[in-house]
Symmetry: C4
Subunit: 269 residues, 4 copies
């Protein structure tokens, strides 16, 4: 037992050196991809959205590139809850990967490419099957802000019906630029667009803002459904002015929730 210690020590030192070398190489490659802080935020966003129940094995989150506005960052095709910095890839606005190296791509990357193409002010996008929102996409009940945390929903959000753009027999996915462009048009100036029989898309000016919005859209959907039952259809929503004022206020405190969510999802500080 004691004899094995020096050998074990040597092996551990060698392993540590190898790990360090690998980490340095990886860090260097990440630095070339984009600002490491943006990549760090994007990885955290993937983990947070999983930890908070917005995404499960499916769904994705992207960020517009920090110095190249016609590029965006998105993980390779995988569960968001397992994404690391090494999984982040760079795409152009046609949805093509710039350095694919044989990695599998999300079929629905055109959600991101077409929205970034259409709306220069949008810098971050979440696509999910966030559960409480699905029933709103499948009925004609308007998703509206029940309380100030979801005030970014404004006066209600549009629903994208894929049958209008893709016909009656699609597989429901945004699998080409044309469907992505139709979805982007439906989004308009809203922060959220629902997708009938599928999920939703949330947009924002930053990764932190889009994560905040995705989480509170899910919570609002759950609480609005409950309020509509409780009030038998009579519910007092935020009016347009309250929603606008509150949304501006919330943008100043996004970091307070982000720190908590990040610590929960990733541990440490």
């Amino acid at each position: 037992m004691r004899k094995s210690v020096p050998l074990l020590g040597t092996l551990m030192l060698a392993a540590a050196a190898a790990a360090l070398e690998f980490a340095e190489a990886a860090a260097s490659s990440i630095k070339e991809l984009a600002d490491p802080r943006l990549i760090d935020d994007l990885v955290a966003a993937n983990r947070i959205l999983y930890d908070q129940g917005v995404v499960d094995g499916f769904g994705h989150v992207s960020a517009r590139h920090d110095t190249e506005p016609a590029r965006f960052l998105l993980a390779r095709s995988m569960a968001p809850g397992l994404v690391t910095a090494d999984d982040i890839m760079k795409f152009d606005l046609d949805g093509d990967a710039l350095d694919p190296r044989g990695r599998t791509l999300y079929v629905e990357r055109f959600i991101h490419s077409e929205i970034y193409k259409a709306y220069p002010e949008i810098n971050a996008i979440v696509h999910s099957h966030s559960p409480s929102i699905i029933p709103f996409g499948a009925t004609n009940v308007l998703l509206r802000p029940l309380y100030h945390m979801s005030s970014f929903l404004g006066t209600g959000v549009p629903i994208f019906e894929i049958r209008e753009a893709g016909g009656l027999a699609t597989d429901m996915l945004i699998r080409n630029p044309e469907l992505g462009a139709a979805l982007a048009r439906k989004l308009g100036t809203s922060a959220v667009v629902l997708m009938r029989g599928h999920g939703n898309v949330v947009v924002g000016v930053s990764v932190k803002q889009v994560v905040f919005r995705a989480i509170y859209t899910e919570i609002n959907a759950r609480l609005e459904a409950e309020a509509l039952r409780l009030g038998q259809g009579e519910v007092n929503f935020l009016n347009a002015e309250e929603a606008a004022a509150s949304s501006a206020t919330n943008n100043a405190v996004l970091g307070r929730a982000w720190e908590l969510w990040r610590q929960r999802a990733l541990g440490g500080s």
Copy 2:
């Protein structure tokens, strides 16, 4: 304290050697049972279904044998969340265990034997009391695909009423081949059959597919009930063509969710 170290070391080495011997014997016995990768998937399926809330202390999951199509693998009678490779047994299509060694068998193993007998293309089966599905079995509300993740539900699933095959005073269990055969007939070409006052059965061509289907059947039931209330009965479901196209698409990405679920339920990679 220090003196005890060499003794402790000796004891630990002896224990390690014994553990290794035991593990080798167990591994050898598992290899004789079936392809170790299939057994590994089946153990993971037991743990995943528990971790995801599809099964609790009850329920079971089986797989058709990889080289002997008239045999299937199923744990001894125990909670799925505690199953290990050593608990997996081999059965024939009459529901008899080939090497029982005194182990207790699931009373309802005939669910598996009769479905494998009737449908050669089915290679994996889950039986559970998945909670959100129970209310659908006890009413005449059709379980249908609300969104693309549950598109395998097609145009809706049948309900098995045990009173038709077993009379008015059963204990609700599929405790003989006759009841198993009646249940298999009710399943037909569907991926899921509900059992009134009991639970449901989900089938698939692989362990990964049947786990995916069992999890999303539970989620769909919860969301469909919610949508029916929200829309006061007016809900826009996937149509038959959308369901078929989407189901084919999903079969290509089962692994993405499986990796996440496996890691959550079993840890490590």
Copy 3:
């Protein structure tokens, strides 16, 4: 650092010896109280009921003494989730503690004493505010078995209205033998009695059975409420014969769920 090891070792050995002495004394005292296996089951029951969401900081579970039928075991007044063997006390059927040693008693111990007095076949009792059951106690909707796991509910359970026995201004608690006796009469031959505006009581022939029943009463309440909404009042419950047959069957497999729950709540085996 290395120098401190022998000192640390000495301290640890001394601490270990003291801990052993204390543990032996405690074990001896527990052995005098009742069969250690019964106490172990009762402690596990407290922890399981908390882990499964049947009790929170309040609620209690008792067992009739294994050799003295006019005595029962119940923890001192504390949160069930923190109960250890040392907290278990012995009571007589008037609800008096036999060796109080200044410990605080549950105000509502008369729930237990009066039911044990009235029903010799009952050996274990759970009182809780199990959440999903509260709405049934506050309405006139009958709690009935929706599926075989809750078949012990038979053809439905009675509701205890404290205003009948205690008047219009009680604090809702069973704080004396008279209220306990009235509650015991309302229970009758049922496995469960609801308490309006308060909670419920579940009884059984063993600790394992009463824990099983308490957990599945909670689940049944949640699913029955859901089924009544989904079916708009039309729900197909187990009939009396199915409930009786299924309940007999379940009594043979209580251990399967118990092992899982115990391991979750207490860890180890």
Copy 4:
């Protein structure tokens, strides 16, 4: 490996000494702020309310100072789940921080200052967006005690409509003393006041009591909504006398739940 031990030991001793010094300095500064037991309770309250789902990244809890009744304690602006003793600050009844040191303050501290100013008997306040309560604030359905755990709700709680005091275009926040005073008036003698489109405020005579009330207000809201559906509007609530008697009883057992919640949220004893 072995050589590094003495060095490691030295480093660890140095680190431990530094940590001790820091802890002593911090402890000294906390002692000057208020009774350390009150600060400890307030920190625990922050963590418990997060752990129990009453607050998320937002919401706050305060305590009136133990020796200076015109002062209260409240964390700096941050997520309650991350609050430590070092984050607690002292405020006067105008909502001004006495020793701000550049720290960011909660915009809504006037909720606390104005309620402490108006009601000398109140010693602790929770403001949250506790989810199940939001639908009650957005409808005209009265929040009432469904069971004895929430008997402090009495005969029902008032709703604060910010449009009455702040007009039709606020950002929903209590961002000045005038709005705080209007909210305090609406509270009246109730233990809880709902805020339409925002959240609620709970008050108590102690930190332990206000935490108990905040948690059971959330649970009651969930169960009352369920009971109203189940009973189709016909629900048997506690009457005024039952609520008063039960509330007095509960005040004697707050510690039982507190110990459990504290241990869950903070670990250890």
